[in-house]
């Protein structure tokens, strides 16, 4: 049972980080209907920015986190301007390719600047772990869980209860109709990218600190998992992304403990497929009602 609870804690920790990244996928998908394959790499750059701020500029953790989120948000806007806006009218697959191009570019850029090796992220978030029986809950885990939940709740409120949020959802349905409402669609899209990228930077830094490892291809697996989580929860749905992330984290960690750690990811994907077959729009995805 100790193993079960320890893995539950571990699963919730990673899960909340998946969820945070998944939100970025979901928001961009919601609005542009493209899977932003560069999202994971934006996360990676954000993490490196955080690392540079801590190591070279000697900022404390929280200011570094916030500043990195801000810089990454700007970078998200820039990426959207350069790589997505020009192909917005084209086939969705074209935008997907553009995203892939950005992804490849960012990874190799990071490799040139910071090398291919793994860097430690030496942040001292000290404090003794909470020990319940044999279960350890690290300070970092509490941090990761706390920060992600806070950001998620904030985002949920923003999207559902503000005028900008409704405008965002309107834009996600149809850009031209949104324009006719007087919505500045370009701004809305920029804001979406900014928020998604900032959340990714936050998640990336927490991941970097949690595993004490920052490296250029870190966005790949984080991105893949988060994307899976977003679909699991119902892509386009914000609560879905949270649920999907947490669920994925817990399931794969319990799966790794009780089945085989080698098949850990396979378990996650098999579950995803089964859930989608039962509920084709993910756990919380609203079916886009299409009347004929």
């Amino acid at each position: 049972m100790d193993v079960f609870f320890q893995q539950l804690v571990n699963g919730l920790t990673v899960g909340s980080l998946y969820a945070l990244i998944a939100l970025g996928y979901t928001m961009v998908y919601g609005i542009l209907k493209i899977i932003n394959f560069a999202h994971g790499d934006i996360l990676m750059i954000g993490t490196f920015i955080g690392l540079v701020l801590v190591m070279n500029f000697h900022l404390a953790f929280v200011p570094a986190l916030l500043l990195a989120m801000f810089i990454t948000a700007l970078m998200g806007i820039l990426v959207e301007r350069l790589a997505y806006r020009p192909v917005r009218a084209a086939d969705k697959l074209i935008a997907l390719l553009s995203a892939l191009g950005v992804s490849i570019f960012l990874v190799n850029f990071a490799q040139l600047v910071w090398g291919t090796e793994t860097h430690p992220f030496p942040v001292n978030i000290s404090g003794e772990p909470i020990i319940l029986g044999e279960v350890h809950i690290g300070t970092l885990q509490i941090w990761a869980l706390g920060v992600s939940l806070l950001l998620m709740v904030g985002l949920h409120f923003f999207v559902n209860h503000t005028k900008m949020g409704v405008a965002m959802r309107a834009t996600s349905f149809n850009v031209d109709y949104a324009r006719l409402m007087g919505i500045n669609v370009d701004n809305i899209i920029s804001i979406t990218f900014a928020i998604g990228s900032a959340l990714a930077a936050a998640a990336g830094i927490l991941i970097g600190v949690y595993y004490d490892a920052v490296y250029p291809v870190m966005g790949y697996s984080a991105g893949l998992k988060a994307f899976t989580a977003a679909v699991l929860g119902g892509i386009g749905s914000i609560p879905g992304a949270m649920l999907g992330g947490l669920l994925l984290g817990v399931l794969e960690n319990e799966g790794a403990a009780y089945l085989s750690s080698g098949y850990k990811d396979a378990i996650a994907f098999a579950l995803l497929i089964i859930i989608l077959l039962i509920k084709p729009t993910g756990l919380m995805g609203r079916r886009e009602q299409q009347k004929v």
Partner: protein, 363 residues
């Protein structure tokens, strides 16, 4: 990719006779590019030294560096490139077992001798008559560490291994030996090189199995992360490792959490031999840093090939004939002899991390 000044892109037929060309295949980019860099440094040093000494038979040596990214598919492509370039006489590489196994059939098909520098899988023993390596097989190392741990009095051992030729081969041999010595492997968990970052599941399982010590059969990156994450959930044990852990990067990444770790290797800064001392001095002079074990292996591999070209002849077949009979080659990593399978026979060193440095282990 190949370093521009060293790889010769345009070799016309007339050049071919004026210089000696040797291929080097290593992980110059990718997950273990740090190792790739030291390999590159070492072979370039060997190249510089031999050319300053007048080259081979009066001809300058030109290395052709190709990146296999530690990826077997890339390795096959690189092997194909070398195999089809008739002016390449021999190859240093590859580094990992998987890449060596991917390249070996291609080299053996065209009769191109190559010397592996990090590949310790037992499978390489039978890879082919043109395949050699400058380090011992895991079958040998695994048993060696198993003996060592039993000698130190450990009985219930957890094993974390890299899920590939290297780690798995090592872990299997290790487990068999431990059991034959009446020890017990209480848990054995794989992880993937360059992919696994979250060791919490593995650690939680280890913790539940209550071992008295841990053996890591893998590379330094993962070992550092494993131990650091272990601290977070209150898992701290005496740790032993394979030669994959023997890199300063382990200490850089792991910091205090790898203090006291013990592992094997066949090269150390304070090694007694003159060859080792000379190599360390030259490497430091050129790169202003300490060479690691892979640099030493790569350096030896390059020099063995230079010797083979000089003594055997400028011909793939003749080089191979020379290598099959290589005996007592004195290099930075000790004395190398190839057996009939192209396997290397040499005694490893016992090492321990003390005060943030690898030291020779003295009981």
């Amino acid at each position: 990719g190949g370093d521009e000044k060293n790889s010769t892109e345009n070799k016309s037929a007339s050049d071919a006779g004026k210089e000696i060309r040797v291929g080097v295949a290593g992980p110059f980019t990718g997950a273990i590019a740090e190792t790739g860099t030291t390999i590159k440094n070492a072979v370039l040093l060997a190249e510089e030294q031999i050319n300053q000494a007048g080259g081979i038979n009066g001809k300058q040596v030109k290395l052709d560096l190709q990146d296999d990214k530690a990826d077997p598919k890339e390795a096959a492509a690189v092997a194909n490139k070398f195999a089809s370039d008739k002016s390449i006489l021999a190859v240093v590489g590859h580094y990992t077992s998987s890449t060596t196994l991917a390249g070996a059939p291609i080299y053996n098909r065209v009769g191109l001798p190559h010397i592996g520098i990090g590949c310790t899988s037992p499978a390489i023993t039978s890879a082919g008559p043109y395949t050699y390596r400058v380090l011992t097989s895991d079958a040998y190392d695994g048993e060696y560490v198993a003996n060592w741990m039993i000698e130190e009095g450990f009985k219930n051992i957890a094993v974390a291994y890299e899920n590939d030729d290297y780690g798995k081969g090592l872990a299997d041999v290790f487990k068999a030996k431990i059991e034959s010595l009446n020890g017990k492997v209480v848990a054995m968990e794989p992880y993937n090189l360059g992919e696994t970052k979250d060791f919490s599941a593995i650690l939680t399982k280890f913790k539940a199995a209550k071992p008295d010590s841990l053996f890591i059969a893998g590379q330094y990156n993962e070992a550092a992360m494993l131990l650091k994450q272990g601290k977070g959930i209150g898992f701290k044990l005496p740790v032993f490792g394979s030669n994959g852990l023997y890199s300063d990067a382990l200490i850089k990444l792991g910091g205090a959490d790898v203090e006291g770790l013990k592992c094997v290797g066949s090269f150390h800064q304070s090694a007694p031999s003159q060859e080792a001392k000379d190599f360390i001095a030259a490497y430091k002079a050129k790169y202003n840093q300490e060479p690691d074990i892979w640099a030493a292996y790569a350096y030896d591999a390059a020099n063995i090939l230079f010797a083979a070209i000089k003594n055997g002849g400028e011909d793939r077949e003749k080089i191979n004939e020379y290598l099959t009979t290589l005996k007592d080659f004195k290099g930075a990593t000790g004395v190398t002899t190839f057996d009939e399978n192209g396997d290397c026979m040499k005694e490893p060193l016992k090492l321990v991390i003390q005060n943030g440095k690898f030291e020779l282990y003295i009981k």
